[in-house]
Symmetry: C2
Subunit: 325 residues, 2 copies
Amino acid sequence: MQTRVTRMLGIRHPIVQGGMQWVGRAELASAVSNAGALGILTALTQADPEALRREILRCREMTDQPFGVNLTILPTLRPVPYEEYLDAILDSGVRIVETAGRNPEPYMPRLKQAGATVIHKCTSVRHALKAEALGCDIVSVDGFECAGHPGEDDVSNLVLLPLAARRLKIPFLASGGFADGRGLAAALALGADGINMGTRFLVTREAPVHPMVKQRLVEASERDTALILRSLRNTSRVFSNGVVRQVLEIEARPGETDFAQIAPLVKGNRGRELFETGDMERGVCSAGMVVGLIEDIPACEELVSRIVREAGHIIRERLLPLTEA
Amino acid sequence: MQTRVTRMLGIRHPIVQGGMQWVGRAELASAVSNAGALGILTALTQADPEALRREILRCREMTDQPFGVNLTILPTLRPVPYEEYLDAILDSGVRIVETAGRNPEPYMPRLKQAGATVIHKCTSVRHALKAEALGCDIVSVDGFECAGHPGEDDVSNLVLLPLAARRLKIPFLASGGFADGRGLAAALALGADGINMGTRFLVTREAPVHPMVKQRLVEASERDTALILRSLRNTSRVFSNGVVRQVLEIEARPGETDFAQIAPLVKGNRGRELFETGDMERGVCSAGMVVGLIEDIPACEELVSRIVREAGHIIRERLLPLTEA
C-alpha cells in the first residue's frame, strides 16, 4: 500500500513505529523495518552519542531496510548534548529523523542540509502548521488517545485528523488509537497518509521489554490508562497502576501541585525498571488508550502484514460495496 | 448508501440525527428525514405527552419519510410521566424509538410488543452489550467526543468503535466526532453501520434555534468545548462560556462539590434560553468536540447529500486506489 509517506520514506507499508524511550532499540526497529514498515530507534535511550552510533550500526546489521531515529527535545534538569546526538545520527548515515517535544527549529538547518526527511510529532493543528512552515516533511499528529504526551487540548483523532487534512499541505501520520486494519483504513479515510503505532509495537515478540509487560498490556482494557501531570501542564498518558494513582492523589490535592513529591515517582528512569523486571508496579509506563484493542503478542512481520491485509479487505469488501448499494 | 441500519430504519442514507433537548422539534426532524437520513424528535422537549402527540402529528405533516422519537430517561427532581410519553409515541404510530440515559429495560416489553425498532445510546461497550442482551435493535455508541453525556470513561471513538465491532452482534451507529464525509467513511471502516450527528445538525438552516447560536458554533474551534459535572459523575460536554467556567471553578474547589451552587447555573431549562435568544452566555449548551469541523450552515438536504457524496468519493477515489498501489 503506497502513499505519499511510503514514497518519501522508501517503505512498503504506511506504518511507522512510534519512538519509545527504553523500547526503541535495534531489536524492535529492525524487526519493524524488515516487516516493511518504518522502525525507529530512540536516541535518548542510549546513554550517550557514542552508544547511539553503536546502536545505529547494530540496527543496520539487522536490517537492510530504511529506519529512522527519534530525537525528543524536552526541558531536562541535566543538559542533554542534542547536537552530538544529531552528529551521531547524521554521521551514521541515517536520513529519517523523528523530532518530538520542543520546536525542532534549531536543528532544521543541519537536518535539511544533510538531506534528512524530518517527521515532527505534534499534538495540535497549530503546531503542525508551524512544523510545516519550518520545513518539516511529514508531521505525526498525536491525538488525545496517544501514549506519552497528548498535549493539553484533549482533542481526539476523529476531530484532529480531518482538521489536519483540511489545513496541511504536507502529508501526515495519524498517531494515537491505532492497532488494527480498521484503524488504518479509518486513518486513511480521515486524510492521513499512514499511521504511527507505539503501544501496539511494544506488544510484539521483538520488543525488548520483559514478557510480563506485554502480557499485562494484552490483559488491559481501554479503561486502564490514565492522564497524569495535567496539573503541571505536562500531561502524560500512562498505564494505570499504584504509582499512577499516588501521583493522581497528589495532583488532586488543593493548591499547587508539589513537584518535589511527584518527581521521585515519575523521574528519569521511569519505565526502565518496569520494562526490565516486568513488575508493572515499578515505575510509570507510557501506554495508549489502544491497549484495549491489543489481544496478542505477534511478531512484527505478522502484525504489519495483518494490519495491511485487514485494511485492504475492509476497503474492498466492506466500504466499496456500500458505495454501490 | 445502504447498510444494516438503513434497512432496519427504512432510510436512504446511514445518518441519524442525534436527540437534542429543545432542538429536536418537527422543523429539524422532518428536514433530516426528507433529506433521506433519520430525523429524531425529542420527547422531553415537549411540555407534556399531549404536546408530544401534537408535535408528532406536525412532523408527519412535514415529511412522509420515517422519523423517530428520543426518550431520555434520567433521574430528575420532579417525576416525569415516561409511560405516558411512551403512550404518545406508540399511539401516534411512531415505530423508531431512541432511548438514552438509564437502562431502557422497564420499557422494552411495550416497545417490542408494539414492533418498535429500539436504538439505545451507550457510552461504553459493557453498556452496549447489556442493551443488546435486553433486545435493543441498534446501539448508538457515544465516544468521548460527543455533546451532552459522554460517560466517565473518556474513551474516544477510534478505540470504542472497533471494540464495539469486535463484540456486538447487533449493528451500531457511531456517535460523537462526526460532521463530514471523511468521518462517515471512517465510521464505516471502524465497523459502524452509520453515524449519529447532533451538533452538526444543530448548525443547519432548519434547526429551530437562534441564528446567532449557529454562527457562534461555526466560529468555534475544536478547543471550545469543556467537560463539566465530572465531580458529580454526570459529565457533560458543553460549549465553553462564562457560565461553564463558573461551574468548573466551583468543581475545582477542594472538598465535595456543592451541588446547590451549581444547580442554578445548569438546571432545568439549561440551553433553552440560550437557543431562543442567541445569547451564548445565557445558560449552558451541549456541543460536541466536532464544532471544530463545522464551517457552514447548510440546509439538511445539502448537508446529508454532501456527506454521503464525499464518503463515496473518498472510498472510490482515495482508499480503493491505495489498495491497488
